[in-house]
Each structure stands twice: as C-alpha cells, then as structure tokens.
Amino acid sequence: MNWLDTIVQGILLGGLYALFAAGLSLVFGIMRLVNLAHGDLIVLAAFLLLVLVSALGLNPFVAALVALPVMYAIGWGLQFLVLNRTIGDDILPPLLVTFGLSVVIQNALLQGFSADSRRVPVGALESASLQIGPISVGTMPLFTFLSAVGVIVGLNLIFYRTGLGRAFRATSDDRATAGLMGIRADRIFATATGLAMVVVTIAALFLGTRANFDPTMGPARLIYAFEAVIIGGLGSFWGTLAGGVIIGVAQTLGAAINPEWQILAGHLAFLLVLLVRPRGLFPRALD
C-alpha cells in the first residue's frame, strides 16, 4: 500500500501546485503576459499572512480573508500602473520588468524579514489527519486540494458564466473590437491581475501553513507553476490542475525512490510531456 499512499500524497501536493499555477494561467489566458514575479508574489502574500497572524493574533484563515482585498489591490495597481505599460507586440518589456520585480520583491523581503525560514501556525490542524480506507490523509493537504478544485471551478464559472468573464474572453480575443463595445482593456487587465492575486493569496495560505518558507523560494514556485500550466495546455484551467497533479505525483514518486530526486523527477516529467505533447495535454489557446 506504500505506492498508493505515495501517489495520493502526490495528488494532494499537486493541488498546491495547481493553486500556484491557476493565477499564472488566468493572466496568461487573458493578456498573454507571463509574470516572472508570480512565485515571489506568492511568497510576499505568505509573509503578509505571517504578519497578520503574528502581529494581530488572527486565525490564519481570517488573516487570509483580510489579505484577499489587500492583495487584490496590489495586483490591480501593479497591472494598471506598471505592467499595462509593457503590453504590446514586443515580448521583451513585460519579461524584463517582471523579472526585475521578482528580484526587487525577493530582496525587499530579505531586507525586511531576513533569510530565516518561517511558518504560519495553524494549531492542531497542522498534524490532524483522516483515515480513508488503508491510507492516512493529512487534513490540511486534503483541504489544499479541495481548495484548488474550488478555485478552478470558480475561475471557470467567472470565465464562462459572468459578464466579467465575457469581457475577459472578448479582450483576449480582440482587444480593439472589445474596446469598440465599451470594454476598457486596461481596467480588464487590472481586474484579471487582481483576481490572480486573490488566487495567489489562497495559494500562500497553504504554502505558509504546510511547510517552512523563506524569501528566496519564489522562483522555484514560479517554475512549478509554469510546468503545471504547460503540461495542462495553455488556457485550460482543468488542464492546469491536471498539470499540477502530474508534477506533484512525479515529485513524491521521485522522493520515494531517493529523497534527492524529488525536484528533479518533477522537472523530468515536465520535459517528458514537452517531448511527447509540445502543446500540453489539454490545449485550448493557440499560442
């Protein structure tokens, strides 16, 4: 039953990676922008939660509720004031500006919080687990996975069932025509990035409570998120979830064979998919 246990743990870990990736997938789907600071924004949100929990003594879940509008505002402002200036035919400006942003956030956090590892305490939930048949599942990992599914369902609903989603899709398809219909692309983009930061905050809640984090771990989260998006296929939220699960399972299987191979196994799974299905498993967007 050891292998079954490993695979289940991997699937649950994949939920966390899908949460990392969902924001990236959303932003890319709407404005073809890849935010290289995505991982660092997750870590930033985790530190925001840590401050709220330790300074105000809030429950982590309440702290997340407080952090949501803050992160939404940060995302909205970042997109409206900075990133919108970089969007265009040239791919260089958005890449280099977000790369600079990544370095800035990382070093600002290092300056403010030092390089020490931190953790957001969640009390008894940390070690709580459920016995499902022959395997034991941690409550928090299970909750992480269910949240990932919830986020994916929510994003799909927003994207395909609401006026905002229609505006997202219209702007993504043809910015000029959408503009003629009265949609202001700059505000739509800002709203999309704000929404991505809401997902980032949820991801940060589970990142911060699951294990230790420090200011320099952002880029690695970006890479996992990116791998999940590419494996799933650009523009598909469910594909992103599947991609996260594949990375998660590959990592836990790799770790079960040799602890040093955990990260490597995830990367190799990604390269394998890239080799066999260059456009991912469930491609939707053409790019």
Binding site: I91, L95, L96, V97, G100, V104, N107, I223, L275
Partner: protein
C-alpha cells in the same frame, strides 16, 4: 531624378557601378576605432601598472562583459530571452573542473573543453526550449538549468551538492605563469592573476569581435530581419529557426568558456554557486538592459554602471540587488533602449556601427562591402 541618375550612370559604365553604396562606417566610428585600439593596448599593458586587486576587479568586469555580450546577442538580436544561461556557465565550469581535477588536463585545454561541453549541452536544450515561445521559452531555459544543476549535484566525485576545490597549484600550471613570473620578477600568485586577466581580456574581445562580425555579416542582416519582421524575413528566404539555433549554439559556447574561466580563477566550485540565477543571469540581464539592449556598446556601458553600483552598495547586501532591480525596471519602462540608447539618440554616435547606411558617390571598392 534620382532614378534617372542611377540608370544613366549604370548604362554608361555598367561594370564600375552606381552612385550608391551601402556602408556602416561613419565619422565617429573611425575615431572610435582609434580609441578602441588605444583602450586595447592599455588593457594589454594593465597588469604592469595595476595592483592585484584592480586586476581581479578587471577580471570580474571582463567576464561579466563576455556573459552580457552573449545574452545581448540572444535577447537583443535573436529574440531569444533566456533566463537559463547559468546552465552553460555552470556546465562549462563543471566540465573544466572535472578535466582538471579528475582528468589532469592542462587548465587552458580544460577551459576549451568547458566551452565545447556547453555547446554540446545547448543542442538538446534547444531541442526542448525551441518548442516554447516568448516568455515560455524564458522559463523553459530556466527549468533546463535547474535540471542540469540537480544532476551535477549528484556527481559525488566532484563533491555532490557541496562542491569541491580545484587541486592547489592548478594556477601555477597555467601555461605562461612560470614564464611571466620569471620575466617580470613577480610571485607566481601574481603572475597567475596576470594570466587570468589576459585570458579574460582575450575572451571579452573575442566575444565583442564575434558579435560585431556577425552583425555585419549576411547572417547578421538576416538576424535583424527576423527580429524586425519574422514573416517578411521568411518571405525572402531566411529560416528564422536555423539562424536562431546557430546564435544559441555560439552563445552557449562563449558562455561556457566564460564559466570555465571564472571557476578556474575562483578555484572552488559548487552547484548552487555555478548555477546561480542571480549571479549569472539576473546581473547579466540588468547589465544589458541598463546599458542598452540590442547594441554592442550597451553591455560595455552597463557593466561599468554595474561595477560602480556594486562598489557603492556592496556593504548594503540585499539593498544592492533591490536598487539594481528598480533601476532595471525604470530603464525598461522609460528608456527601453538603455543608457547607450539615450546617448546615441542625442549624439548619433556609434562606436560599433552595424546599421547599414545608404551613402552616395563612393568608389566601387566599397560596394563589395570590403568593410
């Protein structure tokens, strides 16, 4: 009118040609050529009047300049924004270390091995990352660099994850070190620093020279065409992927050489340092962006600014990178062509002119593009 002049002149003397020529030279560049020769001579002579610490600083500047020229060629000309050049720095360094420590090769031969190995690595890398476009290409190169780092961290003979030191005395085995020490009466350690410096100078000049020759060649013109309008370039028979692949390979080779040289001088190697995204990619990107992307002069300006900032802020730790990042963002947003772009917009001075100018009334010799 113009057309008439042209056709009449060619009908009169079809063999000797037209009133038009294409040239890249301008008055400033002719002056600059003299300036460059002077700087080069001063550079070669520097070890005789500069102290060891200055030489080590210059070594650092020259190797960063080499890396910056390579990245600039990729991102500024070939449209390949790589965030994974540390793969080639690290791989070149590791192959050099293995050749010296395990194979017992001569250090200079080991550096060449490092460069060649990096070029070999770039073939499978390109196979994967060329399937991705734009930003995804960028992160794809990063993933490959991580994979190579994690694999080399398993290499127990070279210390695994903690790394290893090169055998002591490897610096003295460098060809010419004993010669320099005897001729100029300096201690072997200083002689080694001099030889390292000359090697770095040679590499930086070779990188600049290579980029300059490439951009003025037919292939360079094709590269610019692909960058400016991929479809139009394809329509006149340029294969964008072939030319990009060639540039990617060449950049990997030079980056590998630089990595091998850097770690030969450091004499200590570990996977985390050799594959550091901050040291070998973030710094390099900021150097090129601040100096001016898509020009040969840009990285030179950038590396000087970078070095000055490093000396000013070296004691402030992460503040330094913070300032560098903010500066990079500001330049990208408000002066996307960098400091050199600002300068050249006002003065029209180009030290390394690669832009072709249509000039009138010149001799036949120039038409064939002798220069």
């Amino acid at each position: 009118m113009t057309h008439e002049t042209l056709s009449s002149s060619s009908s009169q003397a079809p063999a000797t040609a037209s009133a038009w020529t294409v040239t890249t030279r301008n008055r400033a560049s002719s002056v600059a050529a003299l300036l460059i020769v002077a700087v080069l001579l001063a550079g070669i002579a520097a070890p005789f009047f500069a102290s060891r610490s200055v030489l080590q600083d210059l070594f650092f500047i020259l190797t960063m300049l080499t890396l910056a020229q390579c990245w600039n060629l990729l991102a500024g000309y070939a449209g390949l924004v790589s965030v994974g050049q540390q793969a080639f720095v690290g791989f070149g360094a590791y192959v050099m270390a293995a050749s010296v420590a395990l194979g017992g090769f001569d250090p200079v031969v080991a550096i060449l091995f490092g460069g060649l190995a990096a070029m070999l690595l770039s073939v499978p890398t390109a196979f994967f990352v060329f399937r991705l476009h734009g930003a995804y290409f960028a992160i794809g190169t990063w993933v490959i660099a991580e994979v190579v780092r994690l694999l080399l961290a398993q290499w127990k003979a070279l210390g695994g994850g903690t790394g290893t030191s090169l055998p002591t005395g490897v610096a003295r085995e460098l060809p010419g070190v004993r010669l320099v020490a005897d001729w100029f009466g300096v201690r072997p350690a200083q002689a080694a620093d001099m030889v390292y410096y000359w090697l770095a100078l040679l590499l930086a000049c070779a990188a600049i020279g290579f980029a300059y020759r490439l951009l003025r060649s037919k292939q360079g013109l094709g590269l610019a065409a692909v960058r400016d309008n991929g479809q139009a370039a394809r329509a006149v028979g340029i294969d964008p992927n072939r030319i990009r692949f060639a540039v990617y390979l060449a950049a990997a080779f030079v980056t590998g050489l630089a990595g091998a040289l850097i770690y030969l001088q450091k004499a200590r190697i570990s996977p985390d340092a050799a594959f550091s995204v901050t040291d070998w990619t973030a710094y390099v990107i900021f150097i090129v962006v601040i100096g001016g992307i898509g020009t040969i002069e840009g990285p030179i300006v950038g590396v000087i600014v970078f070095f000055i900032l490093r000396n000013l802020f070296a004691d402030y730790g992460s503040w330094y990178l913070l300032v560098l990042g903010l500066l990079g963002i500001a330049v990208m947003l408000f002066a996307p062509r960098g400091l050199w772009g600002l300068f050249t917009d006002r003065t029209a001075i180009q030290l390394f002119p690669v832009r072709r100018i249509l000039a009138g009334q010149a001799k036949t010799k120039d038409i064939r593009g002798s220069d």
